[in-house]
Amino acid sequence: MTTATISADSPLAQQMFRSFRARRMVSFAVPGVILLYLTYAFFAFDVPGLAARARMDNAIILLSDFWSHKTHVTRDNRSGKITVAIEGEGKGTYAPGTYPDWVSIDGDVTTVDLGDGYIVTYDALGARMIVPGYGLIDIKPVGGKLVLDAPQPIPAWISVSDNKVGVTTDAGRFNYSRSKVETFKYEAGWELFFFTLDSPFHGKGFFELAGMAIAGDRVDPAQSNLAYMASEVWNNKMWRHRDVMWAIFETILMAFLGTMGAAIVALPLGFMAASNFMPLSPLRFALRRVFDFIRGVDGLIWTIILSRAFGPGPMTGALAILITDAGTFGKTFSEALENIDEKQVEGVRSTGANALQRARLGVIPQVTPILLSQILYYLESNTRSATVIGAIVGGGIGLLLTQAITTQKDWEEVAYYMVLIVLMVMIMDSLSGWLRRRLIKGDGGGH
C-alpha cells in the first residue's frame, strides 16, 4: 500500500503556500500599519510637547479639591478688615465672632493655626509664618515694596517678587501681596454640603440633628424641624442642590422627550420608507435621502440651528435629539420593517383585513421587540448625549458642569456633578435594561 503524498510543487500545495504567505503578510502588515499611523499621530498631536504644556500644579489643585475644601483667612491691608470664608466665597463667609477655633483675633493681631506647628500671624507690621524645620518667614511692607526675611537660601516652595510673596506648604498656603494677605487652610470633606453657615443646623452632628428632628423644640415655630432641615438642604446656597437636581431632571427629560419623540415621528416615516409597504419608489428614495441628510448634518449642527430659534433650555435640547434620532430611527425602523416575516401578514390578510389592520396585527407585533430594544438603547445613550447637548444649548447638568469647569476654581462642584452624571447614566442604563427584559420576551440581554 502506498501512501498518497502531495508533492511540494503540486498546484494544491502551491496554493496553500501562497495563502499562508498572504496571511502571514496580513498578520504582520496590519499591526505595522496601525503602529505607523499611531506614530504619525503621536507627532501630529505634539505629544512630546505635552509634557511642557501639562500643568501638574493644576492637577494637584484639582485632585485636592475633589476631596477637600479650603478656608481663606484674608486681611485687606488697606482697611485691616479680616474675612474668614470657605472657598473665599461670600456665601461661605463666617460672621464676625463665629470664626473657627483655629483662627484667633486679638486686637490687631490675627493668629491662624494651620496645625502641626505651622502658625501664621498677621499684625500691624506685616505678617509672619512659622514653618517647623525651616524657621520664621517674616514679611513687611517697606516703602511700597515687600521685604522678606527668611532663613537663606530661600527654598523653591517660597515664591518671591517685589509685589507678592507666596508660601506653599503641606499644611496650607500663604500669600502676601500689597493689597491683601491670605492664608488657605485645607481640610478634608465637602464643607457646607448640607447646611450653610447661616443655617441654625450648621455644625451639628448627625445624632444631634436626628434628635432635633424627632424630639427637639421647633427652631422655626412655623414648621417642623425635619421640614426646616429639608428645606435648608434643598435651598443650600453653596451647593445649590435644588438647581442641580433640576438640572439632572432636565437632562433626563431632554433624553426622554427627544428619544420618544423621535420614535413617534420615525415610525410612520419608517413604514413609508420600507419597500414592502411603500409601492412608490421615488417617495421611498426621497425619504431615505432625507434620513441620510438628517444623519449627515449631525447633532452638533442641528443643536446650533435649534438653539438660535428656541433659545437656551431643555426643549431645545430635546428637539435637537429628536431631529438627529428621527433620521437614525427612520433608517433602522424601515430596515426592520423590510426584514419582517411576510407569512404573518399573509395570515392576517387571508381573514380580509385591510392595510391598517394588517399593519396593526401582522407587522407591529413582529417589529415591536426590535424597535423597543433600539429605542431603549438610544434612551440610555441619549442620557449621555443630553449632557453634551446641554453644554451647547445651555440647559441641564451639562451647562452647570461646563460653567463650573470654566471658572476653574470650584473643582469640588465639578467632582459633585461628575459623580451625579455617572450615577444618572448608570441608573438610566439599568432602568433601560430592566425595561427591556420586562417588556420584551426572549430578549437575552440585548445590547
Binding site: 449627515g296 428656541f310 433650555g313 469647569i405 476653574q408 452624571i421 420584551i440
Partner: protein
C-alpha cells in the same frame, strides 16, 4: 412576541371548555394593561414637553417661525461670498484632518482597551474567571462617564490640543466597545481553545490563535461603527472644548455675521466627511458580516 410580559401572570391553566373565556379575559387584560401604559406614556410626554417649554428661554411656536431665519441668514451671506468657499475648504482642511485623526486614534486605542478588557470579562475565555465581574464593572464605569467630563477636566490639566479629546473618547470607546466585544466573545466556539490547551498554549496564545480569528469580523464591524460615532463626537468635543474643526466652527459662530461663509464651509466639510465615512463604513461592514 411583543406581548407585554405582565399579561402572562394569569391564574390557573385553562381547561378545555373555558378556553375561549380565558382567552378573551386574557385579551381584555392585555388591552387594559396596554391602554394604561399608553395613557401613562401620553401623560408623561405631554407634561414633559410642557415643563421643558416652560424652562426654555424661547417658546415652541414663536421658535418654529424663526427656525429658518438663522439658516437663511447664514446661507444668503455665504451665497454672496461664495467665491471664498473653496479657499476656506483648503484653510479648514487641516482641522478636519485633526478631527478625523482624533476619532481614528481614539477608536484604535479604545478598541485595544476594549479587546483586552472584553477577553478578561467574557465567560469561558477569561484569564481569571473570578475577576469577570470586576472587569465588567470597569467597562461599565468607562462607559458611564461622558466624554465631555473627561475632556474638559483634562484640558485644564494638559492644556489645549487634541490629546484630551483623544483620551476622553478612547476611554468611552473602551467601555462601549468592550461590552459589545465581550458579547461576541462569549458566543465564540470554545473548541479551538480546547485544542490549543491540549498542546500547552499559554492564555495569550489561546486568545491570539483561538479567539481573535473567530471574533475579528464582528469586532471590526463594531469598531467601524464606533469610528463613525467618534468622528461626530470629536467634532462636538472640539466645539465644547478644544481642537479640530469643531473649535473652528465655534470661533466662526462666535464672530457671527461677517463670517457665515466660514460657518457654511465648515458645515459642508463636516457634512461631506460624515456622509463619506458613513458610506465607507456601511459598505465594509456589510462586506465583513457577509464574508463571515
Amino acid at each position: 412576541m411583543a406581548d407585554i410580559a405582565m399579561a402572562q401572570t394569569g391564574g390557573k391553566p385553562p381547561t378545555l371548555h373555558n378556553a375561549t373565556e380565558a382567552y378573551l379575559a386574557m385579551n381584555r387584560r392585555k388591552r387594559m394593561y396596554g391602554g394604561i401604559l399608553l395613557l401613562m406614556f401620553i401623560v408623561l410626554m405631554a407634561s414633559g414637553w410642557r415643563i421643558s417649554e416652560e424652562r426654555n428661554a424661547g417658546d415652541f411656536l414663536p421658535g418654529v417661525s424663526q427656525l429658518l431665519d438663522f439658516p437663511s441668514e447664514v446661507l444668503s451671506e455665504a451665497w454672496t461670498n461664495r467665491a471664498n468657499l473653496p479657499g476656506y475648504f483648503i484653510e479648514f482642511f487641516p482641522s478636519l484632518i485633526e478631527t478625523i485623526n482624533i476619532a481614528a486614534v481614539s477608536t484604535l486605542v479604545g478598541a485595544l482597551i476594549a479587546a483586552f478588557l472584553s477577553l478578561l470579562a467574557s465567560r469561558g475565555i477569561a484569564r481569571w474567571p473570578r475577576m469577570i465581574p470586576v472587569f465588567r464593572r470597569i467597562m461599565d464605569a468607562l462607559r458611564a462617564i461622558p466624554e465631555i467630563v473627561i475632556a474638559l477636566v483634562l484640558i485644564y490639566v494638559l492644556g489645549g490640543g487634541p490629546v484630551p479629546a483623544v483620551i476622553a473618547i478612547a476611554f468611552h470607546t473602551g467601555g462601549a466597545l468592550g461590552k459589545l466585544f465581550s458579547e461576541v466573545g462569549e458566543n465564540a466556539d470554545l473548541k479551538p481553545i480546547e485544542g490549543l490547551s491540549s498542546v500547552g498554549a499559554t492564555w495569550g496564545q489561546k486568545m491570539w490563535l483561538g479567539v481573535i480569528p473567530q471574533v475579528a469580523p464582528n469586532w471590526l464591524s463594531y469598531t467601524l461603527l464606533r469610528f463613525e460615532i467618534n468622528v461626530r463626537a470629536s467634532a462636538i468635543l472640539g466645539f465644547v472644548g478644544e481642537g479640530g474643526i469643531g473649535h473652528d466652527l465655534k470661533l466662526a459662530m462666535q464672530w457671527g455675521q461677517g463670517r457665515y461663509d466660514q460657518v457654511v464651509a465648515i458645515f459642508l466639510l463636516l457634512f461631506i466627511t460624515i456622509v463619506i465615512i458613513d458610506r465607507i463604513s456601511d459598505h465594509y461592514r456589510a462586506k465583513i458580516v457577509k464574508g463571515n
